[in-house]
């Protein structure tokens, strides 16, 4: 539990969706390209990602099973920072595709909010919420924080102030490192909403949470922070919904919201189910460990394991460490079928995680990007629309394939001047936690807005 690897691991937020970070980085350049008259698709930043990488760490001959698992997790996290490689999850999430689609829609919604088209944003958010509702385990804390932020801004834009406050508080409860400048591009009202909501979260009541994973080997993250293996606790968390992630190699990862209430402790139990490839992975890992000094056996088994898993590339390493360094030896199977030996000695200092990333980058021939956990949740530049025509054109650039009614000319209320709003915001932070607004409001979501009458004329089928 307290080995150097585990301590280092504690500072590493789980990189669930490497592409999300890439998409955020793309935004810095997005608007200038847009103003230049050429649309650059959102996927442009990820166009270089061309393969998946599975990392398997086998324990050394003497000891170190726990360290091997920890190192495997760290290397998997580091793989998420590579620019041309996506980590192949050995603890996969079911319905991960829903996560991708939802993130795509949230990104579109945030862009729409920049362009002051809240209805378009609401359409995208409805779609995102639907995808996440369909797969409750999809979406990490950053994704939900972005969703809630976008919801808050969309609601703010149409003058629904209290729901906007509630949504933003939920976002800040999940990712508390958000800063005011991340709201600047959305206008002064957004900044004021942030200031009020963040203050409420910081000064509001707190509670404790305890997470227990059956089997005692699964890693536990609370709001993206690694908290332990098997059992984890966190105290003085802001009240509200917190995202718990539990993963173990060969097991289906599980994510869940846990509601923290003021002054109380809550316990959440997890029982992971094996992934479909678990037997193959277990057997393959055992064969690799037992035959690690026989390259021909390792190559054959690595190729087979790669096919069984469905990854494009595979790195198999075995660590040997002392108090100051980790020596890695192993083999790398490339997407082109090449198979070669790899070896590296890595100092265990405060840059250990980066050094692991460098080792991976060097091995697969990629570049190491920033740690997602240290990047802003949603940093954007503002966009200035010169005219209605330009605004419309810019809006169309968001997604040429989808057309929505442009009825976002609704006159906005000057809400920030209303005394009751700020009173409600200040008082509201401690009252949040009554379930996930928008997503878990029951099995039926009544559509707001226009209605019509349906008349059905019944018929019988012509029978023989």
């Amino acid at each position: 539990m307290n080995s150097p690897l585990n301590l280092l691991r504690g500072r590493v937020a789980r990189v669930g969706m490497a592409w999300l970070a890439a998409a955020t980085l793309t935004d810095v350049h997005f608007w200038s390209m847009l103003r230049g008259g050429s649309y650059v698709a959102q996927a442009s930043a990820q166009a270089a990602i061309n393969s998946t990488l599975a990392v398997v760490v086998v324990p050394g001959p003497k000891k170190g099973g726990d360290d091997a698992e920890a190192l495997e997790r760290l290397l998997g996290d580091a793989a998420g920072r590579l620019d041309t490689v996506r980590p192949f999850e050995l603890s996969p999430l079911a319905n991960a595709e829903n996560e991708v689609i939802a993130a795509d829609n949230i990104e579109d919604a945030l862009r729409a909010l920049l362009l002051r088209t809240p209805k378009r944003a609401q359409e995208r958010l409805m779609a995102a919420a639907g995808k996440l509702k369909e797969a409750p385990q999809a979406g990490d804390e950053r994704l939900y924080a972005r969703l809630y932020k976008a919801q808050a801004l969309a609601l703010l834009a149409v003058g629904d102030l209290l729901p906007a406050r509630d949504a933003l508080v939920k976002s800040l409860v999940l990712v508390r490192t958000q800063k005011e400048e991340e709201y600047a591009a959305y206008g002064s009202q957004a900044k004021e909403l942030y200031t009020a909501a963040a203050g409420g979260v910081q000064k509001g009541p707190t509670g404790d949470v305890k997470v227990v994973a059956r089997g005692g080997k699964a890693d536990i993250w609370i709001d993206g922070d690694w908290r332990g293996t098997g059992t984890a606790q966190a105290s003085s968390l802001p009240v509200g919904l917190h995202r718990i992630t539990v993963r173990q190699s060969g097991q289906i990862a599980e994510r869940r919201f846990v509601e923290v209430t003021a002054g109380k402790g809550v316990t959440a139990e997890f029982d992971l189910k094996p992934a479909t490839f678990a037997p193959d992975l277990e057997q393959g890992r055992a064969v690799l460990a037992a035959n690690f000094k026989q390259p021909s056996v390792v190559e054959d088994r690595t190729r087979e394991l790669r096919n069984q898993l469905g990854a494009d590339q595979m790195l198999v390493v075995r660590p040997a460490k002392d108090k100051k360094v980790t020596q890695l030896q192993g083999w790398f199977l490339g997407a082109d079928g090449s198979f070669r030996k790899v070896e590296k000695t890595i100092d265990m200092d405060d840059k250990y995680f980066d050094r692991l990333g460098d080792f991976l980058a060097e091995t697969v021939g990629a570049k190491l990007g920033p740690d997602v956990a240290t990047t802003p949740l949603d940093q954007r530049q503002s966009v200035v629309v010169q005219s209605a025509g330009a605004r419309h054109a810019a809006a169309e650039k968001i997604d040429p394939g989808k057309i929505f009614d442009d009825d976002d000319n609704k006159k906005k209320k000057s809400v920030m001047t209303q005394w009751w709003f700020w009173t409600a915001v200040a008082a509201g932070a401690g009252l949040i936690g009554g379930g996930i607004y928008f997503l878990t409001s029951g099995p039926t979501t009544e559509a707001a807005g226009a209605q019509g009458t349906v008349t059905v004329k019944l018929h019988k089928a012509a029978t023989p």
């Binding site: 226009a450 019944l458 018929h459």
Partner: protein, 609 residues
């Protein structure tokens, strides 16, 4: 025959073509009360299964039984996801009434509108659905729905409607279905059973109105084992190939050879005028195919492929595909087949292959996955052959992908994929004919190759390398998910196909059907579990969410299924499945009745939102 072409996951094609392009389906000709079949014709066809009832259930009168109605409205949000907008608006159905109104329904579209009919005991026994409905704001939207039995069979058809094997069906506009042809008789010919007397009759079933109309005109040629595809721009149905005779050995599935009188090219059904139009220039440029695969390209171009004799084909002519163009002069009533030369050539001579729509390419053109049906020509392996002269199992090209190009009516077939090891139970050393192929998943993730998952079920396997060559018994191993991963443009890696066996199939089966029923389940029906034996397979379903083959928990009504094979099954626009025709056994003794066709619709319980 199985459904060889699955368009149900095509966002572009599905609205018009969902199930419409199921090829080689076996349907029976039907009659109607107003226009009964002549007695003489009944005597001639006589393709009825003595043991078969006319349908899987005698459902009551929905208008008499329904006391209240529940309306449920969902919207499509990104593909298959459906968000419930209105859950169970309730209205009473008064005595003698046949309509009900539901106010305050969320406007907009497209919507899925489901209606449940509840009887006096509070049981939801009847079902109706319309997809793609646009509910008008502050107005009344009138819908017509045929109420069908829920988790039970609804008989459809007309009195004295003759049964048929290997007829064809196609969905057309407005929920209508065209049904044509099929064998009407079977006779013993030594140890071989001959299927014969194909029908030239045609019928239209209207899913919304419930009508079942026998057309006053007939096809230009009687045919069975033909294929049909709806052409939305022309509002016509292209009918290709078929045969007038088939031979059923005791140790294999039915087969056809050139000597069986195969001389059928194509004709076109014009929906607006309800007339059949003969193929231009006596069907020039259209090869004579049986159970051909028809795939739709943009602008109503159609590629006809496969349909070779099976399991052996000594000519590579059938590796070539034919191209239908909808372009025609003002004096012509329809399009025509044009000489495509060696373009559009398959990488193998195929017969009874299964084809499923994949997804649009980045250019917006179509992609199709083709699986099975590869024939091996043993004639290339004389007894005097030397090393390397004979085909080997590795030369069986199990599948390929057709990619439409940006030039209208063109494309290419690619077979250079890597067949990963997958499950060892997957048989790579024999040819698979007539499996069903259904796309059950598509994954598009940034940085990862686009991945498709297809459910492949059943089929008849032929081992040309055994001595002597042999048809293998239908196997439980022929139930698997095929994961197809597209190549990466950056790495130039090959397409990769990985089979993973799915457990839970009740038995190996062929001449069955698989249909996507609603967004989340595949309904498997009928088929034969052994050669020269009565049909014994009933119904199962594959659940997309759990990726499992399941049985009775949500198919309680399946016990009433009339067991048969060689039937047709087509997903209707209300997501129920029309099952038509078929025989309890492909043998003369079992095809001697003159009962009406077995024809029914099954609406699974899992369709209820």
């Amino acid at each position: 025959m199985p459904q060889y072409l699955d368009f149900q996951h095509s966002p572009v094609l599905a609205p018009l073509l969902s199930g419409a392009l199921a090829l080689g389906t076996a349907l029976g000709a039907t009659g109607c009360a107003q226009d009964p079949e002549p007695t003489a014709e009944l005597a001639l066809v006589g393709v009825q299964v003595a043991a078969l009832a006319t349908c899987g259930g005698a459902a009551g009168d929905p208008l008499g039984e329904i006391k209240t109605l529940q309306l449920k409205v969902r919207e499509n949000v990104g593909g298959n996801m459906q968000n419930t907008l209105k859950n169970a608006a309730v209205a009473s159905l008064g005595a003698g009434s046949d309509s009900a109104s539901f106010p305050a329904i969320p406007a907009g579209g497209p919507r899925e509108v489901t209606l449940l009919g509840v009887d006096g005991a509070g049981n939801a026994k009847w079902y109706g659905r319309r997809n793609g409905v646009n509910i008008k704001k502050n107005e009344t939207t009138e819908l017509h729905m045929t109420m069908m039995a829920l988790d039970a069979f609804t008989c459809v058809g007309a009195p004295q409607m003759p049964n048929a094997v290997f007829a064809a069906t196609a969905s057309m506009d407005a929920g209508r279905v065209l049904i044509t042809g099929g064998f009407g008789n079977a006779t013993a010919n030594g140890a071989v059973t001959t299927l014969e007397k194909p029908s030239d009759s045609a019928y239209i079933f209207d899913t919304n109105m419930g009508t079942f109309e026998k057309l006053p005109v007939t096809m230009k040629a009687a045919r069975a084992g033909h294929s049909m595809i709806y052409l939305p721009k022309l509002n016509q149905v292209l009918i290709v190939g078929g045969t007038t005779k088939m031979s059923v050995p005791t140790d294999g599935p039915p087969q056809w050879q050139a000597a069986d009188g195969v001389g059928l090219t194509y004709e076109v059904f014009d929906v607006a005028t309800k007339t059949f139009i003969e193929g231009a220039n006596y069907g020039a440029n259209c090869r004579k195919r049986v159970f051909a695969n028809l795939i739709a390209l943009t602008d109503d171009y159609v590629v006809a492929m496969g349909g070779a004799p099976w399991p052996i084909s000594s000519s590579d002519d059938y590796a070539k595909s034919d191209r239908f163009t909808s372009k025609h002069s003002g004096t012509e009533k329809t399009g025509h087949f044009e000489d495509a030369g060696n373009a559009l050539q398959l990488n193998a001579v195929r017969a009874g292959a299964a084809v499923a729509y994949m997804a649009p390419t980045a250019n917006g053109t179509a992609r199709y996955f083709i699986w099975g049906g590869a024939t091996i020509d043993q004639h290339f392996c004389p007894t005097t052959a030397g090393p390397g002269d004979c085909p080997t199992p590795s030369e069986i090209l199990h599948g390929e992908v057709f990619v439409e190009s940006t030039e209208p009516g063109t494309g290419a077939m690619y077979s250079d994929f890597v067949l990963d090891a997958g499950d060892k139970s997957y048989d790579t050393k024999s040819s698979l004919f007539f499996p069903t192929l259904t796309q059950v998943k598509r994954t598009v993730a940034e940085g990862q190759p686009e991945t498709f998952t297809f459910l492949v079920l059943g089929g008849a396997r032929y081992d040309p390398f055994a001595s002597p060559a042999v048809w293998k018994a239908p196997s439980l191993d022929d139930a698997y998910l095929l994961e197809v991963r597209e190549p990466s443009d950056t790495l130039h890696t090959k397409r990769r196909v990985t089979p993973k066996r799915v457990s839970g199939l009740a038995s190996g089966v062929y001449m069955h059907q698989s249909n996507l029923s609603g967004p989340a389940q595949v309904l498997i029906s009928g088929g034969f579990t052994a050669y020269n034996a009565p049909a014994s397979f009933s119904m199962q379903y594959f659940d997309l969410a759990t990726q499992k083959l399941l049985g009775k928990d949500k198919l309680a009504g399946s016990g009433a299924f009339i067991k048969r094979g060689g039937h047709s099954a087509l997903t209707l626009r209300n997501d129920c499945v029309l099952m038509f025709g078929g025989a309890s056994q492909l043998a003369a003794g079992a095809l001697s009745s003159t009962q009406p066709a077995v024809s029914d619709v099954y609406c699974p319980k899992f369709l209820v939102p």
